[in-house]
Symmetry: C2
Subunit: 263 residues, 2 copies
């Protein structure tokens, strides 16, 4: 592994509250983005609209220029969308460095139940990226990003569908490439923390259960469509479901316990 | 039930793409907000910062003025946060109608796997609200909102903890009340849809599995903290876990199949 690259700390991405939970490591931040089924993307629709709106989008971190770059190295964020959507029109008309956007994602890993409402919390992993979005115009880069994003939904799905996309499919899909300028992550794991004013009160500790309820996403039994002609669920889907279910559950259960080596 | 109230359609909240999936019904939108473990809240940090940032927050719809209002009626959105966080400082300093914010949430209910990458989709429920946020200054309203939000994490949790919050706890917690000006929701359910150009090709349908993989959040086995003195997991937690697990799974599995009455 060697060195760990970190995002620069600016006022816009520096975590102030619970900053012991903060991370600026590229690898940690990029991993949370890549494991997100949905990314929340915010942008300002225009000067007449006071509300910075949020769009749910699908995306992945990657580098078309340096495809061998790993998760710990500088990467762009690729977002998938429809050709005439508002964010695409804004990115298209935004000359220069691109449309300023924010990308955020959070996953709850557990309910942290403590003695008082005030010290209740979640175990969670969350990230924020800031950057400038531009439309990908190079056809090779676009196709590469479409494959990257499709395979993030189910591993190896691209090669197990009818590809390549035809001309109409290529032109109705737009890919945004986001040049990331800063980012930060926040991770909480472990049991609840209560203050001595409560832990020393027998009438409180004798009555209030404390601990963590693990929370994890489960992929269920595949339901074939009416028109499906393939009798068995293919290996790339079955293996993806098994692997992700094991990973998701293990992560949430591990997060519910004290960190190894601490007490 | 009677009438169904809907949010007004403005340019900022009108769904253009796949508008057959759109809803403006207050009940549908409020329910998705209330079932969200995390809400994504975007705001503009200031004129010197081009990026509309996103903060993960916990919140619920409710009406302090008309506590008997049900989910289909006009409600405010209450958000929970820390006293000195940036959004709270901005809302505090924002005179007049309040800080313009956007609240968004999405839940994936299934992976919709079709013949081509282009027609792949998710089953999902997503919402966006726009509104003006102000700090709640009335102590009764603040306490009411804190209870509302705590009980959204685990039903009946408030009364099963050490309450009421003391003076320090009350002053470190801030509640934002969002006056909602518009909202919209988008819901997709059902099997994949493919175009005839692919469904008529035996070489494609003979090779590509199509259907839906249900996706749902699971609450696992509670892990007691080291200091916990209550031997059994209390009913309010055990029942919440059982009920939510059944609901979540049933919703995702139902969404994977064609709507009843359609074919």
């Amino acid at each position: 592994m060697g060195r760990t690259l970190t995002y620069p700390k600016r006022s816009s991405n520096t975590v102030n509250r619970y900053n012991n939970r903060a991370t600026y490591d590229l690898g940690a931040i990029h991993s949370i983005i890549n494991e997100s089924q949905v990314l929340n993307v915010s942008f300002n629709p225009g000067p007449e609209d006071p509300f910075p709106t949020i769009l749910p989008m699908i995306g992945q971190m990657g580098s078309f220029q340096y495809p061998s770059a790993d998760i710990n190295e500088p990467l762009e964020c690729y977002l998938h969308g429809y050709v005439s959507s508002r964010i695409m029109n804004l990115a298209r008309s935004n000359e220069g460095e691109g449309l300023p956007i924010c990308i955020a994602s959070s996953k709850v890993d557990g309910l942290v139940l403590s003695l008082t409402p005030n010290s209740h919390s979640y175990n969670y992993r969350s990230v924020v990226l800031h950057g400038y979005a531009k439309l990908v115009t190079d056809e090779d880069e676009k196709l590469w990003a479409m494959k990257l994003i499709t395979n993030s939904v189910v591993a190896d799905r691209w090669d197990n569908t009818r590809v390549p996309p035809d001309r109409a499919e290529m032109s109705s899909t737009v890919i945004l490439r986001v040049n990331v300028v800063d980012g930060s992550g926040k991770i909480r794991s472990g049991p609840p923390g209560d203050e001595r004013k409560d832990t020393e009160r027998d009438d409180v500790t004798g009555r209030v259960w404390t601990g963590v309820v693990p929370v994890y996403e489960t992929f269920g039994v595949p339901v074939a469509s009416e028109g499906n002609q393939v009798s068995e669920v293919p290996g790339h889907i079955a293996e993806f479901i098994t692997k992700r279910n094991e990973q998701n559950r293990a992560l949430a259960e591990r997060a519910a316990r004290p960190a190894v080596g601490s007490d």
